[in-house]
Point group: C2
Amino acid sequence: MTLSEMTERLFRGEPRAVARAISTVENSLSDSSELMKAVFPQTGRAVVIGITGAPGAGKSSLVDKLAMYYKDRGDRVGIIAVDPSSPFSGGAILGDRIRMSALGVDKNIFIRSMATRGNLGGLSRATVDAVAILDAAGFDKVIVETVGVGQDEVEIVKTADVSVVVLVPGMGDDIQAIKAGIMEIGDVFVINKSDREGVIRTEKELQALLELAHRPDMWNPPIVRTVATENKGIEDLSSAIESYYEFQRDGDNLERRKAIARWRLLELLRERLLADILKPSGAGQLIDRLAVEIAEKKSDPYSAVERILKQ
Amino acid sequence: MTLSEMTERLFRGEPRAVARAISTVENSLSDSSELMKAVFPQTGRAVVIGITGAPGAGKSSLVDKLAMYYKDRGDRVGIIAVDPSSPFSGGAILGDRIRMSALGVDKNIFIRSMATRGNLGGLSRATVDAVAILDAAGFDKVIVETVGVGQDEVEIVKTADVSVVVLVPGMGDDIQAIKAGIMEIGDVFVINKSDREGVIRTEKELQALLELAHRPDMWNPPIVRTVATENKGIEDLSSAIESYYEFQRDGDNLERRKAIARWRLLELLRERLLADILKPSGAGQLIDRLAVEIAEKKSDPYSAVERILKQ
């Protein structure tokens, strides 16, 4: 498949071309460039929904049910599940197959997990590129699901049009652990597993925290109760998402889009600079040799970096 | 304080010099270089313990109780709390003060939170540098606590001598959400809040997952039950940590140290390359201007990066 064939099929929404394009942005920075230059002008139509929360909050079930809901309403839905916690094993791919069979093989739902490959970074960049690809391929809703509350994961969720934070009852005193940063990114809050004990207390505590939190845009984030495994509260969640989407679309959100653009630019720049440094033959061996010297305490990372930059 | 004064006082373990040195690695990449070149040769004596787990697992209480336990045994203990989820607010600093007053003002316990500053990265590098500073300052135990299970957070925990993963009972079916990556980094597992319902089930499920997981080093990670708020199980945790520390110290762990050194080197290289690109006057404005063009869809990140690199 040549690049122009790939993009042509991609813009028609062909699943195989979509999968191929995502693999490209995931595996090769240099091949991504031409592809993404063609993809970007075609983006901006999808509603991008970021969903985050701690492990065990039931995010995957929630995402699957929300996707089914949208599909039944006639939308095409793309799902990107960012799974940085399994960089070593094939866990992500296995997970895709399990979820795919639950969602049914369907042209209108596309699901893909993305995991880190080695330690050269680029996961955040590849993820937002994959979202752009789904957008350009005509998916009406693109859901980005991230496990955990790490630094990169927060950044990824912040690039979405609407960010949803998923909690569960019974976090008790520990709701304080959901620190300000997470509170600030949530446009919509979900208390999943809301048939469990403690839901009222969790909701009250969350409400109190939200009232304390400073929201310069005056949006008052709604709290939605769901039981994803029983398909309860999904319509409420979809309404809450739509409300915020309309709210932010009507506002002047250039500042926000500028901040996202700046972040993407710096992520890509960082990755590209490192790739350029590692390109010359011998660069890999030099890194390995210096790593051994540092491990043996014959050198330190700062001196080693200076030696690499001198070459 | 000149650099040589700072390092001299640092090596004597003076808290103010330690705090100053950590601020240096946190705030300025260029000032870090000379400092860390002096610090590195003095490292390698501390036992570095990484503690991770989902928000709400009670990590902070557990870390505080473990630190008190070590202190009572005569150790000096340093704590670095990585808090990437509150990049915007002063949450981290406030948290330090609260915890410091609980731990008591004590020359033998040093606690410091580290949060992201803007989006120029460097948190991981600054964190491992801070650990090295505490090590060089003669702290016997250095505990690195990270919230969440993000990509960077996993990498930081992997640099520790002993990695502890904290769970809580009642994760039910969702223990599967603790994916392979997290399972693989845990040398010791803690079920905190083990006075709660569901502890037996959680322990059985964890045991089953651990038996499935491939451990090339043949270490069988112990599971320790704790109730941190009541100071229960802390001695067991300390024994489990010590067992693994002795196990890995006796093994041939050059490969592991090499992998850590390589990761540190690449992190630092990435940060340094970006800093060099952004150094010339006008570079900041160029980035801002390109960010606006991307936000307005007049350009795309890939074309923008090429323009930056041409300059």
